[in-house]
């Protein structure tokens, strides 16, 4: 029988622990596929976050480091400075990257640290059971915003791409989603480009992936994917927010 679909080689055989309907599996696959296609598994080192993807180090077959909460870009900075020839990526959630690790995110971006950051935004803390995230939407009900996120006391969600795009430092800042085939294809391209940028020495590339959390959103997987279209994308519009090389070429 002809093989028409295979697991990327850069993923191990360990069964993923993610909830049914969670999109982490798709995003892991897209990252691994990019690594496979670029033939860089042997020189890639990934940095796992604290959050749902904390055990990503078991799922990628490249060398892996588990970082403290929010510190992945700092750890990646150390790895890249020590081994400029290697390919270093971080894989982080919204609490990790946009709350506790915001300083590390902003400063690695402004230094144009030559690393690839995969930022999974599902608007909630998944691992700890559904607390309000820096990206939870206004009015969103979570365990710690039981009456809905009240922006007068809890503040507004942070649009990470828009904010980072104001910096002169970073090379490539883009937002994609994985809630339908078309968006997954787009995400696949963006993630590969974020790795290529690093290989070509262009610098800091961040791909925000708008993602779902059926378990903590209290929805069926399908409803959660629909919610991305209805609620998430209107607040977090998809698109390229910064692409320095493309901008230079256009000039």
């Amino acid at each position: 029988m002809a093989v028409v679909f295979e697991k990327p080689k850069s993923l191990t055989d360990a069964p993923l622990h993610y909830c049914p309907g969670c999109t982490h599996g798709i995003i892991h696959r897209l990252v691994a596929q990019a690594i496979d296609e670029l033939g860089i598994e042997g020189k890639t080192v990934g940095v796992a976050p604290v959050g749902c993807a904390v055990m990503a180090y078991n799922y990628f077959s490249c060398d892996m480091v588990e970082a403290a909460h929010g510190r992945a870009p700092a750890v990646a900075t150390g790895l890249k400075r020590a081994m400029p020839e290697n390919v270093i990526f971080t894989y982080q959630g919204d609490g990790d990257l946009a709350s506790i690790g915001m300083a590390e995110t902003v400063h690695s971006a402004t230094r144009n640290e030559n690393i690839t950051v995969i930022f999974v935004n599902n608007a909630i803390y998944g691992m700890t059971g559904g607390q309000m995230a820096p990206t939870s939407l206004p009015g969103q009900v979570t365990q710690t915003s039981p009456y809905g996120r009240d922006v007068t006391t809890a503040g507004f969600p942070i649009r990470v791409c828009e904010m980072l795009a104001t910096l002169d430092g970073p090379e490539y800042i883009t937002r994609v989603a994985v809630n339908n085939v078309k968006n997954v294809k787009q995400a696949q391209k963006a993630i590969k480009k974020a790795f290529e940028n690093q290989i070509n020495g262009k610098g800091f590339s961040l791909v925000e992936v708008v993602s779902s959390c059926p378990t903590n959103w209290g929805m069926t997987p399908q409803d959660a994917l629909n919610w991305i279209d209805e609620k998430m994308i209107p607040y977090y519009p998809l698109g390229v927010y910064k692409d320095r090389s493309a901008e230079k070429e256009a000039e």
Partner: protein
């Protein structure tokens, strides 16, 4: 050894680290260790190394974690409030069994405290400092020469035992200038097969990690680490013994407190008091054995500290409280004078007559 040069303690640490093969430095500005970072900022770009002023102490220690994961020698330096901020990262470094050097040029605390010398981070340095069961190897220089010498030893021990090492200095040691012979031997680099240098598709992936969700596994890693610590306690404790042969009073002091105490011991001897000093060079592992032996000979101990009585607890433990231990101290950036230490010695001598 190379020629003698006149250097500040902070600069001697920096140059010694470079000579020990440390080509990666991450820090955040804080007094009184600034000369160290400034020296690194000047030197590292010239020798293909990394000097990076991080956005915070927290980021700096996590950059250290990254470089160490890659198997390279790496360091950070700070002073007390900054070292508190690093504790999360230090716990992860210990938990992931990574070597690294952390320099603490201590200043007075707690809180923002002051900028003058202190030894009040003794508990933090010797008992772990962050969360979880772990230790650092803690070396305490008492001269600019030792600042340099202990740096390469710290890197060697950290690599050998796969654990973080700390150089516990203070504002005086960092700021004072003394002639120093810088080491010029090739650094003693060892293989690090655990490092995440990329599989090159030739081996299984390496994972640097401190997470163990299965309690039996986490317990096992803790037990294994403490087996290592036990070996270190038995084999790596370092100290200097001064005029202890016939001593009836034993002064215990490290760093700047030992420099002051030495003068007091010499003066007391002139006055006919049989006093000596044990100067811990490592405060973890603490030199328990010489202190336990001294406890069988001397009448009493004096712990001389720039803290409110921290090391005194380790002295009591090491000596099983066999003999009284007095405390002679100044804090807040103040340093005991030789006269103050001499008074304590005289009091101890008088009290036993």
């Amino acid at each position: 050894m190379s020629e003698k040069v006149l250097m500040k303690g902070n600069e001697a640490i920096a140059e010694a680290a470079i000579r020990a093969g440390c080509l990666h430095y991450f820090g955040y500005p804080i007094t009184p260790q600034t000369e160290l970072a400034a020296y690194m900022a000047k030197r590292m770009p010239k020798i293909g190394g990394t000097f990076l002023q991080a956005e915070s102490e927290i980021a700096a220690i996590n950059m250290v974690y990254g470089v160490s994961s890659a198997g390279k020698r790496v360091m950070t330096s700070s002073s007390s409030p900054g070292v508190s901020l690093k504790q999360e990262g230090i716990s992860y470094i210990a938990g992931a069994d990574l070597p690294a050097l952390i320099v603490n040029v201590q200043r007075g605390g707690p809180g923002l405290g002051g900028i003058q010398p202190s030894q009040s981070d003794y508990f933090q340095a010797t008992k772990g400092g962050g969360h979880g069961d772990y230790h650092l190897i803690v070396l305490t220089p008492a001269s600019v020469q030792e600042m340099a010498d202990l740096v390469s030893l710290a890197f060697d021990l950290a690599d050998k035992y796969r654990m973080p090492a700390m150089l516990l200095a203070d504002g005086t040691m960092g700021q004072m200038m003394e002639p120093v012979e810088l080491p010029d031997e090739a650094p003693n680099m060892i293989e690090k097969p655990w490092a995440v240098t990329g599989t090159q598709m030739k081996r299984e992936h390496n994972i640097v990690n401190s997470l163990y969700l299965v309690p039996e596994e986490l317990e096992k890693t803790n037990n294994e680490r403490f087996e290592r610590y036990k070996y270190i306690e038995e084999n790596e404790a370092r100290y200097e013994s001064f005029m202890m042969d016939d001593a009836e009073i034993c002064v215990v002091a490290f760093g700047i407190a030992a420099r002051v105490s030495r003068n007091a011991v010499v003066e007391a001897r002139k006055q006919g008091i049989k006093v000596g000093m044990i100067r811990p060079i490592t405060v973890w592992p603490f030199p328990k054995k010489p202190l336990a032996e001294a406890a069988d000979k001397v009448k009493s101990f004096i712990s001389v500290e720039l803290s409110m009585g921290q090391m005194i607890e380790d002295i009591k433990l090491a000596t099983s409280c066999k003999k009284p231990v007095d405390l002679c101290y100044r804090v807040g950036g103040m340093i005991p004078s030789p006269e103050q230490v001499l008074e304590s010695i005289k009091k101890a001598a008088g009290g036993n007559e």
